[in-house]
Each structure stands twice: as C-alpha cells, then as structure tokens.
C-alpha cells in the first residue's frame, strides 16, 4: 500500500495513542507537497465514525428496539421496513447490529486493555528485574506462545466461566505473552539509550527514571501494534461468543448473533450475514488505521 511507505520526512509529532483518530493531520511545516489521502483511509475513517456513533448512541440511527420480539414478522427478508431483515423472533436485525456494536467493541477493547497492562508489567519486569526474572517470564511466554491464542482463550474461559468479563480476561491471557515480548525487547533497547544514560547522569532515582523515560518510550511501539491487535481481539471475542461463552441472550452481541444465524443460513441468509459483515468490517477498519498508525510511528522515531 502506497500510504504505508516509510519516508525520511519527520511527521507531526502526534502521540502514538492519538494517531489512530487523527491520521490525516497537518504535515510538518517543512513537508513537501502532500499526496492525496488514500481512499482506504477515508473509508476507514468514515466507518470508524459510524461505529462510534452506533456504540455510543445506537438510538440515533434506528428507533427500533433490539430486544422486543414480533413473532408475526419472524425471518422477514431485508426490505424497506427492516433494512437488514428480522431474525427468528422477529427482532429488527439492523437495530440489533447497531446495538451490538457497544458490547462487541467493549469486549475487544477490554481484552486489549487487559492484555496491554499485563504485557507491559511483565515485559518491564522481565527486562529490568534481573536475569532470573527474565528467564522465568520469557520461558513462560514461550510456552504460552506455542499454543494458538484462540485455544488458550478457550482453555482460560473454561476455567474462569462464561460472561463478558471472563471472555475479556481469557483473551487477554492469550495475548499477554506477545505484548510482553515486545515491551521487553523495547525496554532493553531504551535502557541502553543515550537519554536514559543522560537521566542517570542527572542522578534521577530509579523508579522515576523508569516511569518518566523507560516506560513511555518502551510502550510506544506496543501501543501501535495494539491497534492492530484490537481487531484480532475483537474477532476472538466474537468467536468465544459464537461458542456461547460470551454475553448471554437476548443481549445483542455480534458473535452470539452470528451463532444464532448459522441455524438459518440455508433459509434466511441475512440473520447470519449482517452480524458477520459487521465483525469483518470493524476488524478491517481497525487494521487499516492501525497499520497507518504503525507507519507513522516508525517514521516519527526514525526521523
């Protein structure tokens, strides 16, 4: 993709976590004539805006209730009255997909947040805690990384039990080793950097040194990767819900809806296809923006 090429031009210094939402920013004053922002990016930004509205205020986009059942209108195909059709209980699918945005996104976000926190703490501990801590933590990470993350999440959720919070934790457990690895590697680099030495030279106490210089600089690359990881977590969460381990009916959640729709796939394709499309589109949007943020971040630190 053209827009991901790394250029030796210092971009604007957006904080890595803010890049996601403000990708097409004002270029640095010295930047030469800028190319048109690519179509994929514009589409992704529009879709993101839509998703946010759906997650924060689904009522704005559809007045229908996502939970009320109308058995008489069960399995109506998509049309003027019901844009996405209705499910087996006659609930408006458009409304359900819209209302499903919040729980689905929250699952992905929560899982990612837990994974980032755990990964950061373990990564820092491994890098700064001495040889033994490093060996133990990293060999443990090796073991966990050798299992497919979805299997690991399944295992965890079986132990923890079903429910939204447990799904988040289970997915976080599966993703922690990867993040911990990245943070550890970055910390090892940052710890030897000139600016950390300069801070040592100023006599900064160790805790302050870690909080002020090591942590923020070591976490940056992981945060960028986490935007991409968020998409993966979202799909994993939908997968666990699909298996009936996530939020329980009747609350609209894309994974669970997809699971229900599967039964009618031969007769009423729309029940499964629309929630599935929502999952795919969200993951795609997050990936496009995440990659973009990644490219910008590399450019910023290389400058």
């Amino acid at each position: 993709m053209a827009h991901t090429t790394v250029e030796p031009v210092p971009g604007p210094d957006a904080a890595p976590d803010a890049v996601l939402l403000k990708a097409p920013e004002v270029p640095a004053p010295a930047a030469p004539a800028r190319r048109r922002p690519p179509l994929a990016l514009l589409l992704a930004l529009a879709a993101l805006a839509l998703l946010l509205v759906a997650a924060l205020a689904p009522g704005l986009l559809s007045s229908a209730s996502p939970i009320e059942t109308h058995p008489a209108e069960a399995l109506t195909p998509p049309g003027a009255a019901h844009w996405f059709g209705t499910d087996q209980l006659g609930r408006d699918l458009f409304a359900r997909v819209l209302h499903g945005a919040r729980p689905s996104l929250l699952l992905g976000l929560g899982a990612t947040a837990f994974a980032i926190t755990g990964g950061t703490l373990l990564g820092l501990a491994a890098a700064l805690g001495g040889r033994w801590a490093d060996q133990i933590l990293m060999r443990l990470a090796d073991v966990l990384l050798s299992l497919p993350p979805i299997l690991l999440a399944l295992l965890a959720v079986t132990v923890l039990g079903t429910g939204s919070l447990n799904v988040m934790l289970a997915i976080a457990i599966a993703f922690v080793p990867g993040y911990a690895r990245i943070v550890r590697a970055e910390t090892l680099v940052v710890r030897r950097s000139g600016y950390v030495e300069a801070a040592v030279g100023l006599g900064l106490p160790r805790p302050l040194l870690i909080v002020r210089h090591v942590l923020p600089n070591a976490v940056g690359p992981m945060l960028v990767l986490a935007t991409v990881g968020f998409g993966t977590a979202l799909i994993a969460a939908a997968g666990l819900s699909f298996l009936g381990l996530g939020p329980q009916p009747p609350s609209p959640e894309w994974g669970a809806m997809l699971s229900q729709g599967r039964r009618f796939l031969a007769t009423a394709w729309w029940v499964g296809v629309f929630p599935g499309a929502a999952i795919t589109a969200t993951a795609l949007v997050v990936n496009v923006l995440g990659r973009r943020a990644q490219a910008r971040f590399t450019r910023r630190t290389d400058a």
Binding site: P10, G194, G201, R212, N217, T301
Partner: protein, 602 residues
C-alpha cells in the same frame, strides 16, 4: 596503469570539464546560481562551503543525479556544461549511464551507506566493469584484486570476499574509491571523502587521491573543511548561498583570502594559531540581504547598503565581493584572554578528578588498560586517539556509567567509581556530559523546555515560574532564543541541538564537563561556534573540561594538557605546547604528521 584516453597537448585542447553559468533550482529554491569553473586532467579543484552552500548539488549535477527521483524536480540550466567534448546538459538517461561510473566516477562520504550490505566488496568493485563491459567474467577477480591493491588495501584477495560491515572505515572508503576507479574514469568527484575518518586514515586517503591526480585523473573535491583541501587542491572555489564567492590557486587563497567568507572559514579551523582566539565571527544582527544582493551580506561584518542591494561582480583575482580584504591582514580575531591557568603541578591540591590505573575489558578484550590521569578544577584535558582506542570507555568510566574492572576514579579526593549507584547519586550533578550525538541523549518525546527543565529540577528549583526562568536563562547562556522552548530536538539544527545539550549539562552547575566528540558531527562553521561557546563558558564558570576528540586541531585549540590514547593505553600526557612541539611517543609523532597544517602540503 596507463591512462585510457591519451591526452592531447594540454595547451591547445579545451579543459576536460568546463562549467559556465550553471543554475540549479528546486522549485523556488535556487540551490546553485551562475557557477563557473574548469578542470583539466591531473588537476584538483576543491569546492568548499558549509552545508547548504550548493557544493554537493553542483557535484551531483555533474553526474546527472539532480534531475529525476527527487521530491522536487530540479531545473538545471547552464551556458556550457561540457565534459571532454560531450554536452552534459543534453544527455539522455541512457547516455548518462554510459558516462557515469565510466568517464566520471563518484565517491561519496559515507562508505557504509554507499556500499551494498548484501554484496561482497569484490562484487561491488566489479560492478562498473561488468555494467560497462570492460572486462570478461574470467578477468574480473584479477581486476578487482589489482584495484584494491592500487588503493592500498592490504590482503586484497581476502578483502574482496568480505562485506562492507567487516571492513574498517578507512578500508571501506578505499573500497569505494576502488569501485569508482574501476572503469578508469577521467574525472573523479569526491564528496567529503574523508570527513568520517580518523586523522591517520584521512591522510592515507588523501595521499591516495593525490597519487591518482599525479597519474592524470582530474579530481573534483567537495569539502566543508579548508584544512583538508589545503593538502590536495591546486585550485579552490569557495561557495556560499549557491554562488562561488571566491576562486583562486589554493596557495594564494589559503594564505591571503580576500572574501570575508573565506576568511571566516579559515579562521574557523582550530589549531595552534587559533589558541585564545574566537573561531566564529561575532553573530551580527544585520538586516537580511535582498535577493539581488551579495549572498553573504547578512552575515558579513563589512556589509553596507551596496552589498545588500547589488550583487558584486567577480574581480580580477576571483573574489565576488565589494570590499575584498587587502593581502596580509590576519584572519584571526582575538578572544578575551582566559584567566591565567590555575593549575598547580605540586600535590598540595586535591585533584578534581583522579583517575588511577583504570582498566576495563569487554568479552575478554581489554578496551582500557592501566589509564591514569588527573584533572584540576578549571583545567581542560584533551583526550586524543583514533576510534577504538578506548577514549569513550574511559569517558564512561569517569561519568560513572561503566565500572572499571581494575583501578579506581576519585572525585574531589573521595571514592567515585567504587560507589553503588545510590551512594553516587548525590554527587552526579558534579559531573555532566555532552555527547557527540545530542539527539540520542534526548528523550524523543520531550520538548527543549522539558529537557532542560528536567535537569533544572534536579537542583531543587521549584516547578513553575522559577524553573521556567532558569531554563530561559540557561538557553540564553548557550546562545539560544527562548522561542525554541516548545520545539522538539528533531526540529533543531545540529548546532542548536548541541547547544541544548550543553544547556542541560550546565543546569546543575557542574564542576566538570565531559565532552565526548562534541563537535565532530558538526559543520566547520558550526563547530567553531560550539568551541567558542565552550571556551566562553569555561572562562565564565570556571569549568573543568575532559574533552575527547579525534581531531588534534580542536584539542590544540582548546586544551591545557593533552593525553594521547592508543589501543586502550595512554601513550603520552603533556601540556599542549610540549606535546605539539616535541612529541615523545612515536605514535603521537605519527598522529601529528598526519595532520599537517593548512598550506604546508605536499
């Protein structure tokens, strides 16, 4: 090695390269304006100027590399751009490929970047031969070997099979020259060929270029350093603001510079004669020149209204100046004298820093061996040596960033290197560091204000107005405007970055400043400003400096005493006058010989 094209009688034939009225602009930026020069076989012309003067653009235009590929397409025009009967201005890309590498060779500054890391040096050197069909496949290895031999690379057979990263800086530069020479070009363009190299290696590369010139190759040397140029060039063209401001025979120009910019460049070369003088002219807040005026007017001490409004013509002696200096005037301006050295040789005073037989090995390889020296308050000790001699490790041990395996360092007569980090912390503020690469020593997320404020905070200045005031004061002390407070270091020039680093180092009012190659990444004119700044600060604040450099001139300019390092050992420590007048150690003598002063060439 015979010369490919037999030259005709030099008197009758036109010059090999003739450039007249060359203009290169990138959009609205006029990088090169009305540049004219000629170059004959066996002649060396040096184009000298600071970064942004247009010297490199001129060089790249001569190999047809300014046009395509750039972000902003270059517009090149010239009244005449002739090379050995070819009109370079009209060449198509295909025709350029015939000329480039074969007739005109190019040697760039950074050999590590210019050599393909995935190919052996031999393959790299063979490339021009293959591309231009100058040797059969079977003959290639032998040709490569002889080229490496010719450029003075020992063990050519082994070296040809190695990759760029396996070679030292000097060998890489030779390999690059060998590759440029492979097709036996008539003209060799060398853009800063020795800037990144140690002095002894630099001398070898210059000797090699001199030898090539002697064999009939025309040499166009691009440099920011007049002292390098003085050893090699027959003629010198000084560029400023895209124009040639002075040209002339090297000897005349270096001995009697007439243009104020040439004089400033010469005054900026540090060395014995510049001790106690200012290297850079006083910064003058002069009105900027109009586009039609002399490009140097805004910086020139002698500029008047004529200079600012009208471009001076080139006079008979080759200077483009309304007020050229008469012959014989000194280029140096005397600085306020340093206070009399407070150094006492006896043992009656405790040394600020006492380094006692320290040693340090990495992976079993000794890097620092048995190094001892003392440094008194207010004194400047220059630590000189080539890369890999252990200078930086010594500095890191002094800074308490590295622990010596043997020996110890005392600060104010008390233990320093043996302390745990916790016990050392209170005294950390006594010693501060200025690194070669200031950017690497700045947290990339911090603004200038936060960088300096962090150091100010360590001295107990409370948050808020008081701290901000102190930060501004420090910036002012190093000659930076407060307007830079909100900038990030990446948005600053190299000189400004180094000033910020110095401001930060000064914040805790240290007694000792350890400067590790603080100016070696800077342009000569910027280097001059930073050295002036360090000299001023030393005088005003009574700082002691441990000044590490590979550049003997810089050390000679600034230091009271000099310690010479080789292979981890101190081979000689003496006062600056003694060391340069009567070096005792053979290695010191070799170093000195490699940096013959400007003008005393060949």
């Amino acid at each position: 090695m015979t010369h490919p094209a037999a030259p005709g009688t030099p008197e009758s034939s036109p010059p090999l390269l003739a450039v007249e009225g060359l203009d290169v602009s990138f959009g609205p930026v006029r990088a090169v304006q009305d540049v004219s020069f000629a170059l004959d076989r066996g002649e060396c012309l040096a184009v000298v100027g600071e970064s942004g003067s247009g010297k490199s653009v001129t060089a790249r235009t001569l190999v047809g590399l300014t046009g395509a590929g750039g972000r902003v397409p270059a517009a090149v025009s010239a009244r005449r751009l002739a090379f050995d009967g070819l009109d370079l201005a009209t060449l198509t890309e295909a025709q350029w490929r015939e000329v480039r590498g074969r007739r005109i060779g190019l040697v760039l500054q950074d050999a590590l970047v210019s050599l393909d890391p995935l190919r052996t040096v031999g393959a790299e050197i063979a490339e021009p031969l293959r591309v231009h069909g100058l040797a059969t496949r079977a003959a290639l290895p032998a040709r490569v070997r002889s080229l490496l031999e010719r450029t003075g690379v020992p063990e050519p057979q082994r070296r040809a099979a190695q990759y760029a990263h396996q070679l030292s800086g000097g060998l890489r530069q030779r390999a690059l020259i060998a590759s440029a020479l492979a097709a036996e070009p008539d003209l060799l363009i060398a853009d800063e060929p020795t800037t990144a190299l140690d002095v002894t290696v630099q001398a070898q590369v210059l000797d090699l270029l001199d030898e090539l010139r002697g064999k009939g190759t025309a040499l166009l040397l691009i440099s920011h350093d007049l002292s390098v140029v003085g050893r090699l060039a027959d003629r010198v063209a000084v560029m400023f603001g895209g124009r040639i401001v002075e040209t002339g025979p090297a000897e005349r120009l270096l001995a009697e510079p007439r243009h104020p910019y040439t004089r400033a460049l010469l005054a900026a070369v540090p060395g014995a004669r510049t001790r106690g003088t200012r290297l850079a002219p006083e910064p003058a807040g002069r009105p900027p020149a109009s586009p039609g005026g002399c490009p140097y007017a805004a910086r020139c001490a002698a500029a008047d209204d004529t200079c600012r409004s009208t471009l001076p013509p080139v006079d008979a002696l080759g200077s483009r100046c309304w007020h050229p200096t008469a012959a014989g005037a000194s280029v140096l301006s005397v600085r306020e004298p340093d206070p009399a050295p407070t150094v006492v040789d006896g043992a009656d005073r405790t040394a600020l820093l006492d380094v006692d037989r320290i040693g340090r090995s990495f992976a079993g390889r000794p890097v620092v061996r048995d190094v001892s020296f003392r440094l008194h308050a207010g004194e400047t000790l220059g630590l000189v040596g080539e890369s890999g001699s252990g200078k930086t490790t010594t500095a890191r041990i002094v800074l308490g960033l590295e622990r010596p395996d043997t020996g110890s360092v005392l600060l104010d007569g008390r233990p320093w290197s043996e302390l745990t980090e916790r016990r050392r912390r209170p005294d950390r503020l006594r010693i501060q560091a200025v690194q070669q690469d200031p950017l690497g020593s700045f947290d990339p997320r911090f603004t200038v204000e936060r960088l300096v404020a962090e150091a100010v905070a360590r001295t107990g200045v409370p948050r808020g107005e008081a701290r901000r005031h102190r930060v501004t004061e420090l910036l002012d002390q190093v000659g930076l405007p407060a307007a830079l407070l909100a900038r990030r270091p990446t948005e600053l020039s190299g000189g400004q970055r180094q000033r910020v680093a110095i401001a930060r180092a000064l914040a805790p009012a240290p007694a000792l400043l350890v400067c590790d190659e603080p100016v070696s990444a800077l342009d000569l004119s910027v280097q001059a400003q930073i050295l002036d700044l360090l000299a001023d600060l030393r005088r005003e604040l009574g700082l002691a400096l441990l000044f590490i450099s590979h550049d003997l001139g810089v050390v000679q300019h600034l230091a009271d005493r000099v310690a010479v390092m080789k292979d981890g050992r101190l081979v000689e420590t003496a006062t600056v006058d003694r060391l340069f007048a009567e070096p005792a150690d053979p290695y010191t003598r070799r170093l000195l010989a490699a940096t013959a002063p400007v003008g005393a060439s060949r």
